[in-house]
Amino acid sequence: MGTLIERQFMWSGGGPLTERKIPKDFSQRGAAQLQLQRVEMLQRNELANKISALEEKIRRIEKATVGYIKINLLPTKRLRTPLDAVVEQDDDGFIARITDVPLYGYGDDPVEAIDALKCEIESLYDDLMEDNDFTEEWLTIKDFLKKRIIA
């Protein structure tokens, strides 16, 4: 039995090339080259796996985070300065959240989620303006929104 390279030569040569006919140094060089090719192939495979894992990771991140937005307008009120919000995928729909206040809006698409959030901001503002029966935390939020929203 010859080495793998010798046998390969026998197969790929198509002819009846036997082990005896392959010069020794040629066989050694061929084996070294094959070894090098194997290493290169392994490295290429490893690189390809790493790239596909990274691509998958990027796809997941892109899917998970749609992005940060600034809310400039409310349905019936105006804002002095924009409010920061984040819109993310939420299973089959989207969720928009304000970073400073515990509020969110849900929708089938990002625009619907942002619209729902805008309604929520107004709804909370209206609630907070009704009276002062709130905990300190909510009174702070009330002050915050009073400074931001032009009624």
């Binding site: 969720i95 969110y104 849900y106 309604c119 909370l124 029966d133």
Partner: protein, 89 residues
């Protein structure tokens, strides 16, 4: 997290029956939880969703001052109003 088990209606019913929250109906349902004569927590419940999306479920829990597990307990029964008040006090 047991979000897949519940309809938003279940969350609303639990909040009404267990925590005595009265909801105002707008685009979504909004209600306040009162503690010691003050409005302490405000929850927003979207209309007609099942299963409840994970982040929405977690957001509702956060609004009530709970983590997802405590919110599961509230909806599944082990957590009652007294227990809830102890958590958020």
């Amino acid at each position: 997290m047991q979000n897949a088990k519940f309809h938003t209606r279940d969350v609303k019913n639990t909040c009404e029956n267990k925590l005595d929250i009265n909801f105002k109906s707008g685009k979504e349902f909004n209600g306040w939880f009162w503690l010691n004569g003050k409005k302490k927590k405000r929850i927003t419940i979207p209309k007609g969703r099942k299963p409840i999306p994970r982040k929405t479920y977690k957001s509702m829990a956060v609004q009530l001052g709970l983590n997802a597990e405590q919110f599961d307990d509230l909806l599944e029964c082990p957590l009652n109003k007294k227990g809830y008040e102890q958590i958020i006090s």
